[in-house]
């Protein structure tokens, strides 16, 4: 995985993949978040439209990202998150944080949390919150990683 540094090195940059699964072409939010995270100093990969769960997970593993942001506005979020989490598990990549965005009702948030999905940013959310959340959550995972190694 990552080259291990002797301390929590400040130069290690968070790598994020922003993904649009399935047929939903509403990509405004995904692109805004991608740019905001890049401005916040992260390395961002945007995979474009019409990705299958397999394509997203492959890209995430290949790009060695710390987090995948999945944006769904069509209502089909449940099956995509479920597939992405399952495929990450099969690839032994559970350490990659999966977070979300789009039109996702409150009723589904608990189910997503039970799946192990992180925060979900719905319309009206703040991109700085998203950046802060990633710093905190990915930072926490890095610390776990270094204490486990």
């Amino acid at each position: 995985m990552h080259e291990s540094n002797s301390s929590a090195a400040p130069e290690r940059r968070i790598r994020v993949l922003i993904a649009k699964p399935g047929m939903d072409g509403h990509d405004r939010g995904a692109k805004v978040v991608a740019r905001a995270l890049r401005d916040a100093g992260m390395e961002v990969v945007y995979t474009g439209l019409r990705q299958t769960a397999e394509m997203i997970v492959n890209a995430a593993v290949q790009e060695d990202v710390d987090a995948i942001g999945v944006s769904v506005l069509s209502g089909a979020h449940m099956s995509y998150f479920r597939d992405i989490k399952r495929l990450l598990h099969e690839r032994g990549a559970d350490d990659i944080l999966v977070f979300g965005g789009g039109i996702i009702p409150d009723q589904d948030l608990q189910t997503l949390a039970d799946l192990g999905v992180g925060r979900v940013f719905t319309p009206g959310a703040n991109t700085e919150d998203a950046a802060d959340y990633l710093r905190t959550e990915v930072g926490r995972r890095w610390q776990q990683e270094s204490s486990n190694s």
């Binding site: 399935g22 405004r28 905001a36 089909a76 039109i103 009702p105 319309p123």
Partner: protein, 547 residues
């Protein structure tokens, strides 16, 4: 006293004592308004030529002389979810609640030309619209609704020819007169490449399929609007009002040019071209956008494209309040936003209107939320008095100045697009993507820096309240699978094979595809089967992602 005298001698000293609020007063298109508008701002403005009268060139004041005194706009609420039976129920409920036209939302597989039982469709069936995979679904969707009496709008683009053919086949099976069928097909593929991204084939063959409807429609279903050139999705994807106006008109002109290249008579097809605008929060800017749109369209259609029929010069439009402006926080506040946006659409002179439900950011609307949205229109229509006077804001120093400014800015963009080789060139180069991503990002930053206050989002925040939402029954997939299997089992295989062969021949030889699509509909060919025929001929389009 002249305006600048007043500014320097009266306004400036007053502003020194009571400073202006530190707030971004610019419009959503970043037009910086002055504190006051007077006749001095309209020096070069000629009311006779720039305004005229309602129902007369250049139609700035509206396309009909009597506007809403004659007939109110059509209250057309967009609906569709789950199975054809479920949406049919919602249609009947909306008509019973006083809605005056139908508007159909299809699910993503349908929009992308896949049958409900295609592997790509998993998880999406019936989710953000109704699933229609064959004429059998169309028959159930419009059961008990007379197509000669109720006009229907269908939000369908890449598979528009196929879905329209199913609607027409359903009417024919009931013995209806096609001369009496009224409705609108969205059928605007260019804005899919620019904004909504529900494209299948590359731009050039996609546009030719649209032109097939331009050619076939007026001769066969003369009252049907076979295209609704849409700004709505462009705006929702992050564009400003000026970009929405410019890109949409550029799309409209592109279709006109392609139809002329095919040898069609402009005055035969242009009267059936309709438009579709978004109505966002900036009240006066939205009103000005509608007025500028009509003026630009009328002038260019007459002077650049040589149209002579007055109906070719009239920009008739549907409007929808801006879904993108409705946050998930404090969703009931969206009722107020939608009312103000709906009022702007009416003051802008729209022909039909969809008002969003307050739960837009949460899920598809519940029936209760959709009813409030419809009631909002009825309140605007009957209780505010705005429907009693035609174009009541004409002559407002600010509204006319803003109309002029928006018109000039949009024309600048339209010229820029023409100079780069047209809309298809702009799609290929990523021009539209880059412009819109930039605008969307800038707006988001303004909100996050509190340069723009969105009530309940970045100020006046309170604890979240739960509102009930519309849930989609996952059983809809099984219903669709069963019906598709039955259709495949029961149709006449010979007739089905011939119809698909006819479509293939039409696509390969460049004949008009509409007669073949109609044959496919009658033969109960599925949507996926017809779209696959063309996938083999035209190939599929993959866009380059622009961030």
């Amino acid at each position: 006293m002249k305006k600048n005298e007043w500014i320097s001698s009266v306004y400036a000293p007053a502003a020194a004592t009571f400073p202006q609020r530190r707030y971004n007063f610019s419009t959503l298109s970043n037009i910086e308004p002055e504190p006051l508008y007077t006749a001095d701002d309209l020096k070069d403005w000629e009311p006779d030529t720039d305004l005229g009268y309602p129902g007369e060139f250049p139609y700035t004041r509206g396309v009909q002389a009597s506007m809403y005194r004659g007939r109110l706009w059509t209250m057309r609420m967009f609906a569709g979810f789950g199975s054809a039976e479920q949406t049919n129920e919602r249609f009947h409920a909306l008509l019973k609640a006083g809605q005056t036209g139908l508007s159909t939302a299809f699910d993503l597989p349908t929009l992308m030309g896949y049958d409900a039982d295609h592997p790509f469709s998993a998880g999406e069936v019936g989710k953000c619209g109704v699933a229609v995979s064959s004429l059998a679904d169309m028959e159930l969707l419009f059961a008990g609704i007379d197509p000669e009496r109720v006009t229907t709008s269908m939000t369908i683009n890449s598979p528009a020819n196929a879905i329209w053919a199913m609607y027409i086949a359903n009417a024919q099976k009931q013995g209806k007169d096609l001369n009496k069928l009224g409705g609108t097909l969205q059928n605007d593929i260019l804005k899919e490449f620019i904004a909504q991204k529900e494209f299948i084939y590359p731009p050039a063959p996609s546009v030719q399929l649209v032109i097939d409807t331009f050619e076939w429609g007026p001769k066969n279903v003369p009252k049907w609007n076979f295209i609704s050139v849409s700004g709505y999705h462009i705006r929702e994807a992050g564009a400003t009002a000026v970009q929405e106006l410019a890109f949409t008109l550029a799309d409209g002109f592109h279709y006109v040019e392609k139809a002329l290249e095919r040898g069609l008579d402009i005055d035969e097809f242009a009267p059936r071209i309709s438009f579709f605008w978004d109505v966002h929060n900036d009240f006066f800017e939205e009103i000005a956008k509608f007025r500028a749109a009509r003026r630009i369209w009328a002038r260019q259609m007459r002077d650049r494209y040589g149209a002579k029929n007055p109906k070719s010069l009239m920009l008739r439009t549907h409007a929808q309040t801006a879904g993108v402006s409705l946050p998930a926080q404090q969703p009931l506040n969206n009722i107020a936003r939608v009312a103000i946006q709906g009022l702007a659409a009416v003051l802008g002179g729209t022909q039909s209107l969809h008002t969003d439900a307050y739960d837009e950011a949460l899920a598809l609307p519940t029936e209760a939320a959709a009813t409030i949205a419809l009631r909002t229109q009825q309140i605007i229509a009957y209780e505010t008095g705005v429907a009693g006077v035609v174009d009541p804001l004409a002559g407002s120093y600010y509204v006319e100045s803003l109309t002029n400014q928006i018109e000039a800015a949009a024309l600048g963009y339209i010229e820029q697009i023409r100079a780069m080789g047209g809309v298809e060139a702009g799609i290929e180069s990523g021009f539209f993507q880059a412009e819109m991503a930039e605008a969307a990002f800038r707006y988001q930053r303004e909100v996050e820096r509190k340069e723009r206050i969105i009530v309940g989002v970045n100020d006046y925040v309170q604890e979240a309240v739960q509102v009930p939402i519309q849930l989609i029954d996952p059983a809809v997939e099984q219903v669709q699978f069963g019906r598709l299997a039955q259709v495949r089992r029961e149709r006449d295989p010979e007739r089905h094979r011939e119809a698909l062969a006819l479509l293939h021949t039409a696509a390969v030889t460049g004949q008009n595809t509409m007669p073949a699509f109609l044959a496919c509909a009658h033969a109960y060919a599925t949507l996926g089967e017809t779209m696959d025929v063309l996938r083999k001929v035209f190939g599929e389009y993959v866009e380059t992602a622009v961030m």
